[in-house]
């Protein structure tokens, strides 16, 4: 389970001012639930996820992953977290099983346990033929499967997917989508980010809309439809963005 409280992430800029990539963001994601972080490019999705996965430290506010505070217990947070992006950056000179074993060991797993769950996953994802191959010789689809196994080898209760289908062909993207669904079925808490409305529509139990570092709206698709009286998610999103622009204009006037 994920709970985010007033999370702020600011980056210093060359001119000395700070840029707020994530600005006072709060939301929750429960076990067995798929929550989608929806927003255009540069909205702050990736930064939010990087803070949650302890790659970045929050400027203020905090979050808990499975009850562990990201600021005080980063190691526990990482051990309870699986993280996957659309980038299939892998160590090309390692063989598939070596690569997976490396990450299993980093998660302090016993070798026997790694072997066991690796074989299980290989069976499930139909990877048996290339477990001994060097990663540089794999196709994109195969690499994506390797990444999936890498992210879940330690059986984490929380999964975070950052634009998991970005840059993938339709067949490989489907693998990912079904993998996300299977995570939910296994009772995991899933947070994924996307800028593709259709993906959010198909997968998410709840949608968190994020724009310019701030949350625009949050709720199930039905709830959002009801509130905005729009049916299409595109329209719903535009509705909230417009509302946000109006608000900031008013704010500017008040100054």
């Amino acid at each position: 389970m994920i709970s985010v409280h007033n999370l702020v992430k600011a980056f210093p800029q060359k001119d000395g001012n700070a840029f707020y990539a994530v600005n006072d963001v709060s939301f929750n994601a429960d076990d067995g639930e798929i929550v989608c972080l929806l927003g255009v490019n540069g909205a702050g999705k990736t930064t939010t996820m990087r803070v949650l996965s302890t790659v970045f430290k929050p400027t203020s506010g905090t979050a808990e992953i499975q009850g562990w505070d990201i600021r005080t217990h980063p190691q526990e947070v990482r051990n309870n977290l699986g993280f996957l992006t659309g980038d299939t950056g892998l160590y090309n000179r390692l063989r598939v099983h070596e690569f997976i074993r490396y990450f299993g060991r980093l998660y302090s797993m016993q070798d026997a346990d790694i072997t066991h769950s690796m074989n299980e996953m290989a069976e499930l994802l139909d990877m048996k033929d290339f477990m001994d191959k060097k990663i540089e010789f794999l196709s994109t689809g195969m690499k994506q499967k390797v990444s999936i196994v890498r992210s879940i080898i330690h059986d984490p209760p929380v999964m975070i997917f950052d634009e998991p289908t970005a840059g993938l062909d339709i067949l490989t993207a489907r693998n990912i989508i079904s993998f996300i669904r299977s995570c939910k079925e296994r009772g995991k808490c899933v947070l994924f980010s996307t800028h593709i409305m259709r993906e959010a529509e198909r997968l998410a139990d709840r949608i968190v809309m994020i724009h310019k570092g701030r949350i625009l709206a949050e709720g199930s698709l039905e709830a959002l439809r009801e509130e905005t009286s729009q049916t299409d998610l595109d329209d719903i999103f535009v509705y909230y963005v417009n509302q946000y622009s109006e608000d900031t204009k008013v704010e500017a006037h008040e100054f």
């Binding site: 001012n17 990736t46 302890t54 430290k57 190691q75 993280f83 160590y91 090309n92 390692l94 070596e98």
Partner: protein, 673 residues
């Protein structure tokens, strides 16, 4: 630190690197092939060429303007040289020589001394840059010397004197250095240089790949979210670079020593059984290990800082160049290891290496070398871990946030844009280059006026020009604001004790790590200028007080204002110390720089530090100018050593004066910056 995780990272990195054919080639294969091919190949070509030269012979034109029995005999001896053809010199001899049809022209002349003795002069014309011509000369000279000796012996015999008198003194070499040591001397010169460069280039191949490579291949983020602490990642990668650097080094060491041994034995030197003693190899490896760790740490931090591998390789270049220059010290004769040099990285290893090869090293030097390198090591690896935890640097490839620019406030825009730390460093480097080229040219012509012109044209003028060009208010920017009277009154009480303390500290360092005599002599020149005291005072005290202050307390702090007053003072003091281009005085100048920076930034008036700077420089002048006078002897012992008891009152006065200065200055600048 989780040692188990460190080892997991280490083993994986090692496996990955060793699977890279390029790295394997660079680290293992290249040294194994390179040296034998280079050395043995070079050797073979050399000996072949010498043979060719020998057989090539020479045609020589002879101009005998003496024509006596003696000259005829000398020429006869020459004609006996193998492959030599003698021809009488014709009119066109000179043009034949120039067109290289003949290799030499020999002219015989004679002269008669006051007591009637005839002596013969043989002029041998040859081209010193041409190997063939050089060899010809050598043969001619040997032949002439031999025939001279024979003739003198005959003369002696005729006069009834035993010709053995010619061999009155017979010098024979009894070289106590055995072949082992002779080889050590040869290797001691070449090896340190090659080893240091090889170590660095081998390690850099690996280092660039380990972090910058991960950034490039987008695997870094995956690693960061894995269940491992960043410190463990850094140390695992660090150990990988050290290991491969050392493997590279060992392979190089063996390859070179085998090839060298082969070459020396081919050269006919009696080196039977001479090789690298096993003990020396182990000591060398022990000495190179700290350097390997230091290089690894620096390379790793470069790799961490870089966006991609190409950038990492670019940033490695300055390190490589500095190391090459420092490592060249092993080629210089007569530089021997001492405690001070043992503290300077790379130089210490190069000299130690040389000493070990001659089996003539001191344990204290070895320990000092290792200790000082380890200290630098810890700093470097600590900095790398810091870098690894700095998001802005670890993710420099991403443009988080920079795509959306926030609106700047119009008023201070140009000021903020110009006065950035980056521009500050550029300005500093340009000023340093100007100092190096123009300054040393000016001072080379005439030291006295050169120093003054350096202050004005190299240091002061560019500051004023740049402010004029970019239209900054000169008075405000440089803090040319009248100080309060109270501040000015306090400045001497700060400047004088501070000067004394810094001088005492330098003295103390000098007794522990003596400065080279040559260096002290050069420094002394500054004070022995043959000019009236008022002129020395102007050149040494007043001009730097004004010009250097306007640069380092006026302009430079403006570039670093974003870091706050404390960091600003330290940074500008570092630059100030570096600007003096003098490693021996770096620390003293750095401390003075911090004090001067404090005086200006705290009070907001540059005049305070100008006065302080001038006082500091004049004190040195006074001590030298009045050396030997009785009143000065109370404070100074010997030539110009301050007495140590001065430290006590100096500390007290300085502390009190600084305390009062701090109280009366409001620190408006702190708020401002």
């Amino acid at each position: 630190m989780n040692f188990k995780k460190v080892m997991i990272v280490y083993r994986k990195e090692l496996m990955e690197v060793l699977r890279d054919k390029r790295t394997l080639f660079m680290i293992l294969l290249l040294p194994v092939i390179l040296y034998p091919v280079l050395i043995i190949g070079f050797n073979a070509v050399m000996s072949r060429q010498t043979g060719v030269l020998e057989e090539q012979g020479a045609t020589i034109a002879i101009q005998d303007s003496v024509n006596t029995a003696v000259s005829a005999r000398l020429l006869e001896e020459l004609s006996k040289i193998e492959h030599f053809t003698l021809i009488p010199a014709a009119e066109n001899a000179q043009s034949l020589y120039e067109s290289k049809d003949i290799q030499s022209i020999i002219t015989l002349r004679d002269s008669v001394s006051a007591d009637g003795l005839i002596s013969y002069h043989v002029y041998v014309q040859y081209d010193g840059t041409n190997d063939r011509s050089e060899l010809t000369f050598t043969k001619i000279r040997d032949a002439l010397v031999a025939s001279e000796k024979a003739m003198v012996e005959e003369e002696l015999q005729l006069s009834g004197i035993n010709p053995e008198i010619m061999n009155l003194v017979d010098v024979r070499r009894l070289n106590t250095a055995d072949s082992q040591k002779m080889m050590g001397k040869v290797l001691g010169m070449i090896l340190p240089y090659i080893m240091i460069i090889m170590l660095l280039s081998g390690a850099s191949v690996v280092a660039a790949d380990l972090v910058a490579g991960e950034k490039e291949r987008k695997t870094l983020e995956t690693l960061l979210v894995a269940g491992v602490d960043r410190r463990d990642i850094v140390i695992g990668k660090y150990l990988t670079i050290i290991t491969l650097g050392m493997i590279n080094l060992i392979v190089n060491l063996f390859s070179i020593s085998f090839s060298m041994q082969y070459m020396l034995s081919q050269a006919g030197l009696d080196l039977a059984g001479a090789g690298m003693p096993i003990k020396a190899i182990f000591i060398l490896l022990a000495a190179m290990l700290p350097l390997a760790t230091l290089f690894s740490a620096i390379l790793l931090s470069i790799s961490t800082f870089s966006r991609n591998m190409k950038e990492a390789r670019t940033y490695e270049q300055p390190l490589l160049m500095v190391s090459m220059i420092l490592a060249m010290i092993s080629f210089l004769p007569a530089i021997e290891m001492n405690n001070l040099l043992a503290l300077i990285p790379i130089i210490n290893i190069a000299l130690l290496f040389k000493a070990v090869m001659l089996n003539d090293y001191q344990l204290s030097h070895l320990l000092l070398t290792i200790l000082s390198t380890v200290v630098l090591d810890v700093i470097a690896i600590w900095a790398t871990i810091k870098l690894f935890n700095t998001e802005g640097i670890l993710f420099r490839s991403e443009d988080d946030g920079s795509s959306i620019k926030s609106i700047k406030k119009g008023v201070s825009k140009s000021k903020k844009v110009f006065f950035t730390p980056y521009n500050g460093m550029i300005y500093f480097v340009l000023a340093l280059l100007l100092l190096f080229y123009l300054g040393s040219y000016l001072q080379g012509r005439d030291l006295g006026s050169g120093l003054l012109m350096t202050q004005i044209f190299v240091i002061l003028l560019p500051v004023l020009l740049i402010l004029k060009i970019f239209k900054f208010p000169i008075k405000e920017t440089l803090r040319l604001k009248a100080p309060k009277l109270k501040e000015v009154l306090l400045v001497p009480f700060i400047a004088i004790p501070a000067t004394i303390l810094v001088a005492l500290a330098a003295q103390l360092i000098n007794t522990i790590f003596p400065f080279p005599a040559e260096y002290l002599k050069n420094l002394g020149k500054l004070f022995e200028l043959d000019m009236p005291l008022w002129r020395s005072f102007l050149i040494i005290a007043i001009a730097p007080g004004i010009c250097e202050e306007l640069l380092f307390r006026g302009l430079m702090p403006r570039f670093f204002e974003k870091y706050g007053i404390k960091v600003n003072i330290v940074l500008t003091a570092l630059l100030f110390a570096a600007f003096h281009l003098d490693p021996f005085r770096f620390l003293p100048v750095f401390f003075l720089g911090m004090l001067l920076g404090y005086l200006t930034l705290r009070s907001g008036s540059i005049f305070n530090s100008m006065i302080s700077h001038a006082i500091n420089n004049s004190l040195a002048l006074i001590i030298v100018a009045f050396a030997g006078s009785s009143w000065l002897n109370v404070f100074v012992s010997g030539q110009d050593d301050l007495r140590y008891w001065l430290a006590a009152p100096a500390i007290l006065i300085l502390a009190a004066a600084l305390y009062m200065f701090h109280k009366i200055t409001g620190g408006k600048e702190c708020v401002e910056s």
